[in-house]
Amino acid sequence: MTILPVSRIHSASIDLLAIRDNAAVLVRRAGSRIVVADVRADAYGHGLTAVIGAAVDGGACAPDIDSAASLGPDAKFVSAGSALYGLLPDLELKPAMRVSALVVGTKTIDAGESVSYGYTWTAISRTNLALVGIGYADGLDRIASNRGSLRLRGALRRIVGRVAMNALVLDLGQDSALIGDEAVVFGDPSTGEPAVWDWASSLGRPSAEIVSVFGSHLPRVYR
């Protein structure tokens, strides 16, 4: 498991207990059928080895052809993918991935000043901005430009201007932020954080795609 250097500007943190507990819920719901963890695409970007360990702890089976076959021809299997990772709005399931990044710069601009490539957004009044160290190369889709929001200092803040390869800008209005503050793309909705399915649907993409792409690019931290 990775211990991140303190300098880390962005990460995907993975809650292995959530995966274990989700597996247990799915095993219970499956009754006599056997739950097999769907770990394609590096476990949907959550990390193959860690996920298998957690899913097996929760009573699911690893997707190992030999052992599945040894369960006999009568065994009925049910594959657990999106549900295992908590990608569905289901009160018994918990999202396993949380994506966040730090504020790396702050700035106040005047009405009429614009932000980021192509100047696609212009302030209509004096406003505070936060530069956040995450961009499309990390998996934060460029179509979120002037559309998506991140949670920062207790509120959703709109992305203004184009999302760049490694950074984006949030409009804070009259509020302010400090360098080092954490902006959350999605996390645990039970604590008020945005849900991955809301982020995904605002961009018209499957949640599984969102977590797979973030997980394969961001440094992962396991909880």
Partner: protein, 347 residues
């Protein structure tokens, strides 16, 4: 059966660099290799740039800069970093002789504190309108003055900015602001040798944007800005070819072993094509680890290799076509590809 593969033509990359270097001369060229060299593979690309005589490499972050030094990028090649977080370990970075693009006093002070043996190489950044990083015009004199006062620990190497490429007029305004910031710094006693503003498009198009150094990412990989401008119209060659095997075949459909879990956007459905044996087919579904194309009654075989995008010389789609059809830019498509996709390097 081979999995999905990104084939990286390093000779095309070197030719692009040579053409760009010639075009921007006498300005020097920095090869930008952030985001795993725009998804092309950091170390082989950085080594190719150095072998081609490039004296500046831009990595974005310190960690990538250190990785280059640890893997033998020599000290006479300057390695420029500019995404500086609140908790950086500058000591190691200074030891590795990295260059820092500094926007704030607190970054400057942190670098000075860590600079105990020798002087840290600093480039001060002025915000000329992009409003991301960079000191405001009000903060600029203070930042310059402080770095001069710290001259026992800070070597003021450069002054730089990054522009919006919104329009020629907007870029002209940014260039004017940059010139004023340089003049202010000189009046305060700075004598910088490396002034840099331009990335690919401005460096290519405008002599007045080039100053002493240009920072080139996209164009070196043969990624053009779109909107009708193709790489070949700039005499640049695409460097990456993305392929995937046909893993299933039935009733007019072929399934390829690559999906959105590998970084193919799910929005590829109904928008882009792939080519198999020189013929083009529409993408009809994208799933986690597979993608289906409508092959009609073409004689596609299991194990055939599909080209998702490439140089276009064999009638396959290009990255530019994908970007235009997906409503994005080539950079997003290549940087989004999973690191698990094999990179195969052609010398």
């Amino acid at each position: 059966m081979n999995g999905p593969t990104a084939t990286i033509d390093l000779s095309a990359y070197r030719r692009n660099l040579a053409r760009l270097a010639e075009r921007v001369a006498p300005a020097a060229l920095m090869a930008v290799v952030k985001a795993d060299a725009y998804g092309h593979g950091l170390l082989p690309v950085a080594r190719a740039a150095v072998a081609a005589g490039v004296a500046w490499i831009g990595t974005l972050d310190i960690e990538t800069g250190l990785e280059l030094r640890e893997n033998g990028i020599p000290r006479d090649v300057a390695v420029f970093t500019w995404l500086l977080g609140p908790n950086e370990d500058y000591g190691r970075a200074i030891e590795a002789e990295l260059d820092f693009g500094v926007s704030t006093l607190s970054q400057l002070e942190a670098i000075a504190r860590a600079s105990v043996s020798g002087r840290a190489r600093v480039h001060l950044k002025i915000d000329t309108g992009l409003h991301r990083n960079g000191a405001s015009i009000e903060d600029w004199p203070g930042l310059v003055t402080r770095s001069l006062a710290l001259s026992d620990r800070i070597e003021l190497v450069g002054i730089w900015t990054h522009i919006a490429e919104a329009s020629d007029g907007d870029d002209t305004v940014a260039i004017e602001r940059f010139r004023s910031a340089i003049a202010v710094a000189e009046r305060l006693g700075a004598s910088v040798t490396v002034r840099h503003l331009a990335a690919s498009a401005a460096a290519f198009g405008r002599a007045d944007s080039r100053f002493d150094l240009v920072r080139i990412g996209a164009f070196s990989y043969g990624i053009s800005p779109g909107g009708g401008v193709s790489p070949s119209s700039l005499r640049l060659e695409p460097v990456m070819t993305l392929t995937a095997p046909v893993i299933a075949k039935e009733e007019g459909l072929a399934t390829l072993g690559i999906g959105y879990g590998d970084g193919i956007p799910s929005s590829a459905v109904g928008t882009v094509q792939v080519s198999i044996d020189g013929a083009r087919f529409e993408v009809v579904s994208v799933q986690l680890d597979r993608l289906t194309v409508d092959t009609g009654d073409s004689p596609i075989q299991l194990g055939d290799t599909a080209v998702l995008f490439g140089s276009g010389t064999a009638a396959e789609p290009t990255l530019q076509e994908w970007a235009d059809q997906l409503g994005t830019i080539g950079e997003e498509i290549v940087t989004r590809l999973s690191p698990r996709i094999r990179r195969r390097f052609l010398e």
